[in-house]
């Protein structure tokens, strides 16, 4: 009997203790348990530095782990519009100027949601003299990322980035560009004055903490932006360009900006998506590279699997044309193994080349600006630098190419495609032809930066381009160049009044045919 009572009450004692304890006993843990133990609620100075690689990878659209953001921000739009590549995937209508909102918003998302939070945090947290170089480099990268974004859409939210308002207004592209120049000037000056102040060190996945290289990068970017506005505001362009060159732009391949890749997280965006066989070399590339017998052909592309030949395709095919064997991915050139899938953890991503600086200076010289050289010398040096960038170092080969007088070929094929243009590599004496040569060679040298290539085609009209086979966009006929990406539904849903107001900042309706501020519709 006693035993029974004991057992009976033991159950109760346990139960009541447990119940009481859980209900009232642990007030403190009840209040503190709602903190995620796997994440950080505040950042140390080292953590702040560690935000920089995030901004670098996301800024190059490789923050996503499967390559989708690189594909949908750059490859399906800018790369096709620049006519570096053309689509072999029947489901991709973006190559026919169809603005697939679901895809193109990746550039926007990567800029504002994936990249800028890190950069803004860094900029806000680095206000001491010891962190001045961190601050300057973050601002340079911020301009780099945002210039690609404004060159897609035109007006963008800029001066109110990071605001907590329900509606965040857009700024005109002119205002954005003016601030870019201000930021780059200040950042370059901060760097120049503090070259020995350590910056990101091994968290700098581009220059390993070499402040001098960032300084050259900043000035080259400033020069690039100066040329961009050279047709709409020539005087501002001239002063910015001359100041940039005077301050020191990139001059050698050793300054080329590459973003390091490393398994398993950080891959080469282009490499990641090449195995999908959804794009191939464009007919434009084929016409030029084949016609010039360009040593970069095998660096950029590989022979088609089915034929062993270098072949390209036209942009804007409909599925019925894409699936005709001579137009499909088996019969046309994929990018070279260096840019291919197997190298996605080894080939670093190209950010900016020194070659571009020479072509920018060559064009500036044509404009009569003081670029520290003649147009011809700078043009030839640009070609040399590009060939060196891609591993062509033999001076004979380089000089042969520079003095090459052969002309682009007619790719022929299913659409009986003619030659893209009729200029040789060898620098012409005709200033109009010179401009086409500089911009065409720059286009070849920029590869695979479709963002910059498309922007410069819009600004300058060079290189020439093939009309699309079909356009699915009623605003942009197949023989016209697409001028911008319309404002995104993505932001209309969340920031509607601001998007509506931003339409007034455009020089035309909110569609893909309206040129951007700097685009004088050449």
């Amino acid at each position: 009997m006693k035993y029974n009572i004991f057992l009976r009450y033991r159950i109760y004692v346990y139960s009541i203790l447990a119940l009481g304890g859980l209900l009232g006993g642990c007030t403190k843990s009840f209040d503190t348990r709602n903190v995620d133990p796997t994440k950080l609620t505040s950042l140390t100075p080292l953590d702040v530095k560690s935000l920089f690689p995030t901004a670098l990878y996301a800024g190059m659209n490789t923050g996503d782990d499967n390559g989708v953001d690189y594909q949908q921000s750059q490859n399906l739009f800018a790369d096709d519009y620049a006519q570096y590549f053309a689509s072999t995937q029947t489901a991709f209508s973006s190559d026919r100027y169809n603005i697939v909102q679901q895809w193109v918003r990746y550039q926007w998302y990567d800029t504002y949601v994936a990249t800028l939070p890190s950069l803004v945090t860094i900029i806000n947290e680095t206000t001491t003299p010891e962190t001045v170089t961190l601050n300057a480099i973050a601002r340079i990268w911020k301009v780099f990322v945002l210039h690609r974004t404004t060159d897609y859409y035109g007006p963008i939210p800029y001066s109110h980035i990071g605001s907590d308002s329900i509606v965040i207004p857009y700024d005109s592209q002119r205002d954005v560009y003016y601030d870019f120049f201000k930021e780059l000037t200040e950042a370059a000056s901060d760097l120049k004055n503090n070259l020995n102040v350590p910056s990101y060190g091994d968290k700098d996945m581009i220059y390993d903490g070499d402040n001098a290289k960032w300084l050259a990068f900043a000035n080259t970017l400033r020069l690039r932006l100066a040329l961009r506005i050279s047709m709409i505001e020539p005087d501002k362009a001239k002063s910015e360009a001359e100041a940039a060159v005077a301050d020191g732009v990139m001059t050698d391949v050793s300054q080329d900006a590459y973003l390091k890749v490393a398994a398993p997280n950080n891959y080469n965006g282009l490499g990641r998506i090449t195995a999908w066989n959804e794009f191939r070399m464009s007919a434009s590339m084929e016409s030029l590279l084949k016609g010039y017998n360009d040593p970069r052909m095998s660096k950029y592309f590989q022979p088609a699997v089915a034929t062993g030949l270098y072949d390209g395709i036209r942009n804007g095919m409909v599925p019925a044309e894409q699936t005709i064997p001579e137009n499909d991915y088996e019969h046309n050139s994929n990018v070279s193994a260096r840019l291919g899938n197997d190298a996605m953890f080894s080939t670093p991503m190209s950010v900016m080349y020194s070659a571009e600086a020479y072509f920018l200076r060559a064009e500036g010289a044509l404009n009569g600006w003081n670029m520290g050289g003649t147009a011809k010398d700078l043009y030839n040096k640009g070609i040399e630098m590009s060939l060196r960038t891609w591993g062509v170092t033999d001076m004979n080969t380089i000089n042969n190419y520079i003095n090459n007088t052969s002309l682009p070929v007619a790719p022929g094929g299913y659409f009986n495609t003619p030659a893209l243009t009729d200029i040789p590599v060898k620098f012409s004496s005709d200033p109009a032809e010179q401009r086409e040569q500089i911009l065409t060679q720059k286009w070849l040298a920029l590869f695979p930066d479709g963002f910059e290539a498309w922007a410069e085609v819009r600004r300058s009209g060079y290189p020439k381009r093939y009309p699309l086979i079909h356009s699915d966009n009623p605003d942009v006929p197949k023989d016209k160049l697409i001028r911008r990406i319309p404002f995104l539904d993505f932001d209309k849903d969340k920031n509607g009044p601001a998007v509506e107001a931003a339409k007034a900042l455009l020089d035309g309706p909110d569609n893909a045919a309206t040129p951007l501020w700097w685009d004088t519709h050449k």
Partner: protein, 1109 residues
Amino acid sequence: MELRQSTHSVTRFYIRFCSTVLLLCVLFQAKAYAMQDSLSVNIQGKNMTIAQVFKTVHQQTGFIIFYNNSILDDQQRVDVHFVHANVRDVMDFVTNGKPLSYVIKNRFILLQREEIGRPVSWQTTFNREEAPNITVTGTVRDPQGQALPGVTVSLKGTTTGTVTDASGNYSIEAADGTGTLVFSFIGYTTKEVPINNQNKLDVTLDNSVAALTQVVVTALGITRKEESLTYAVKSVDGEEINKAKEVNVVNALQGKVAGVTITKNANGLGGDSKVLMRGNRSITGNNQPLYIIDGVPLSGSIGMLNTDDIKSMTVLKGASAAALYGSRGQNGAIIITTKSGSAGPMVVNYSGGLTFDQAAVLPELQYEYGQGDGGVYVPNSEHSWGPKAEGQMVTLWNGDQVPLKGQPDRLKDFFRIGKTLTNTLSVSGGTDKVQAYFAYGNTRQLGIMRNSDLTRHNVDLKITSNITPKLSLYTKVSYVYEEINNRLRPGEGGTYALPSIYRSPTSIPTNEMKKYSYIDSTGAERQSYWKPGSSILLNPYWALNRVSYYEDHDRFMGIFLAKYAFTDWLSVQVRGSIDKTIGESNNKIWADNYFSLVGSDYNYGTSRSQGTNLDGLISFERDVTKDLNLSVNAGASVQTGNYKSVSGNANGLYKPNFFFMSNAKSPYVDNSYGEDPLVRSLYATATVAYKGFLYLDATARNDWSSALPKGKQSYFYPSVGLSGIISEMVKLPSWVTYGKARISMANSGYGGTEYLDRNYYEAGAGGQIITPTIQSLGNYKPELTSSFEVGLDWSFFQNRFGFNVTYYDTRTKNQLLLIGAPSASLFNQKYINAGLIRNSGVELVVNFTPIKATNFSWDATVNFSSNRNKVVRLTPTISSVILVDDRESQIRAVVGGSFGDMYVKDWVRDSLGRRLVDNTGAPILTADRTVFLGNYNPDFMLGFNNTFSYKNLVLSFLIDYRDGGYIIAGTQALIDADGHSKRSLEGRENGLVLDAYTEDGKKNTQSISAQKYWSMIGDRYPTGGLYAYSATNIRLRELTLSYTLPTNFLNRTHFIKGATISLVGRNLFFFKRDAPIDPEITLGLNGGGLEYGAMPSTRNFGFNLRLTF
């Protein structure tokens, strides 16, 4: 004290505590079993009625006492004092001095009026000189065909009587074959059956009026009489659930409960189903109901339970029904009660089923044109836009020469007949002190996909014991082990095997596809596909054989409960439970799968999740005055849970196709951990019953959730309801059997999920710090649902006809919404508290029995429900929230619209609404998914259930009708664009002149090629508006035919007491269907209205066998 240290130590202590108690319970019970105590009765009380005494005897010993009310004076009060008495002592006391006598047999006591001078016996033969010359045997069942034990069977006009045994069998001797047997049982209409010289009489007893006072299990496991409830509930018993042998028990409710929409997942084996009660309530949160098993919330998947273990399921649809469950119950609750043992001899049950599954709705393909494009045969084409396939010899991609002709069996050959084999063996029984139920079940399922299968073992042990007359313990331990190979991943994830077969050129013979690999010059195995390196598709047989996804789960569920009855009107109980799942996944990807970016690849992961619950309840019930009964339950609970996982991704393998993590090229490890909020609650429910016909019901609950911001963690919600049994209050015409009206109002709250009140940075691989993309809500408030419902439950003509009707209106506000933030805020989304969603609707259940004869009856039930959903308000500045952003459709909640409105890409129309084409005759389509299509939810649903019983044969069928809603058929869009579909035949030879107008208003005369047209509107990003179909469908959901073997036949076996064999069919055919797919198949639990590369739904045939030993 140790308890105060930290959450973790408390949790650890709690787990230890649970395991200790569980172990203790098991030990106790094992001991109690061994002792085999004699039945002992302890009753002490003054002024008790005899009925109360009998009730206590039953509670303490399990003995059931049968008697006719007329023989006892129910006003008589007695004072009793039994300590360690046995039942005979009690019965002697009760019958002492009265003309009554009793007989005890097994666990039954029959109390009868004593014939003067003649003792009663089970087999009285004293009034006849001659020996009886006939023995009648048979089985007594309820209207559902369930055996009824304890039914009194007597020979009319005599004192001869018996009681049916546990299997409902009886055997009685009659003097001759002309007598009449009287069958009576509490809750059933007494039935008189003339013997007519038959030796075998099987009888079905009908529910009496009183049967409407069915007992249902409600919130907190409180059992209540259905008539006292102020809200609509639906109880489905295990027999009904088991009829058609669904592996996922929830699917068995389809069409059987008004107001509940069940949508099967497109994942095939082991997939969870989407269950929606009275519409979608939460905009961006969870709309799935809470599952309660034996009184405690389930943490893992419902689909893993053994359906054979289920005794009943109660569906609590409204907030009022679930108000006591708090946070997790606001979407309704499904309360599952599992089987338990009862005192009496050991009963062994076997239940087995074998079901065959056949792919039911397959895409309609064309077999007239072969592989190729533009009318030309192309061996590398993924399309069927080639030449007419007339048997001309062609060379395939692999070099083989075959005649080019359509392969109509190709799709059918790809699938196999799926098989599901289930077995459950259960043993139950017990003494008056300890009752036990043990069951082992296994399920072996072979999917219709040849690489897909599931194996599951379920072990359940449940022990109930009355340690003392006042203290009872209950323990339940369940273990489940499950292995699944190649659970399908629909859409473009995973292997893409299904889309690959759907999208294979229709002229490629199966035996050529089956040569899915070859060895290349380096000795490596390569995929043999007609278009190597395809960005999306694979050889479908390669996909089946060279990608392997495996997962297994170990699941442990334990419940213990201790209950102490201070008196017969006051008791207290403590209950604890744990539900823990440990999972493992092992995914192998062979080299040359085009979708793998790193060659052959391997993923391996483990995860564990658990939920724990501890609660206490004090129950009070007694008559306060003669007419007033008060019952109060008050309790407290603590709930929490956590999950953790570690998974490794090889990122390529050094030695291809050697799947082991040590062989990983650049392994990446992902590690996650999280907790469910700790929710503490106090709650109470009170019911006041007046004269047994008027019930006032009130509940109150206060929760404290650790997920809410400090200082604002508490939220309170009450409910109140009233029901009246009108038929007992006023005199109604005799044809009105029963009438009840009810009304209730309730609030319920949801405290959100953890970690939302602040922003976090993540420390990622490679030393990177990652910024948050979702802005937290520092001051968020609990979501509140308020509901109102009124209803009537009436029956007429002795229950030949009856209906239940309910109207409800629920409003959910303060929703924790995840909305888009302007990107320049540097967040992608943010949490806000806003919004108001209203659901209102009607549910109607009509029961009728058109035919009721001695041997034949026809019972029918119609369930109807219709829900209207309205998004009343979002935020002051936001009027539209994207719920699902899919390639086929954007699904939005727009103010003024409904949850699940779909916006699609569509044909551009002119001001007259005419479709426009460009100057080449090609359709002009909108650039994006901007055109409003409609909603994916049904307008109304109707289930029509029929049961025909003829002697031992029962035939039943269920017709299920869903009206309205849209579904977008993504697979159709793919096969149209590829030229595989039957309808892509249209315009093949001469092109299509679309019935449309040009932008300048002229009728279109231009012709475009079929391939151009279909590839424009179809393909992977289809024009949703042209692939939207009405989801309306009427189907024969279920057909069963069951036969119970006659008892006298079984008696010859000497060991089988009952046997039922049934033939079942599910999803047999559609009476009506517009979509080219089964519109019930959806993508994921949150999506609706979208199909893309989904599993075909299956048609199932099978048979079940149930044996009782």
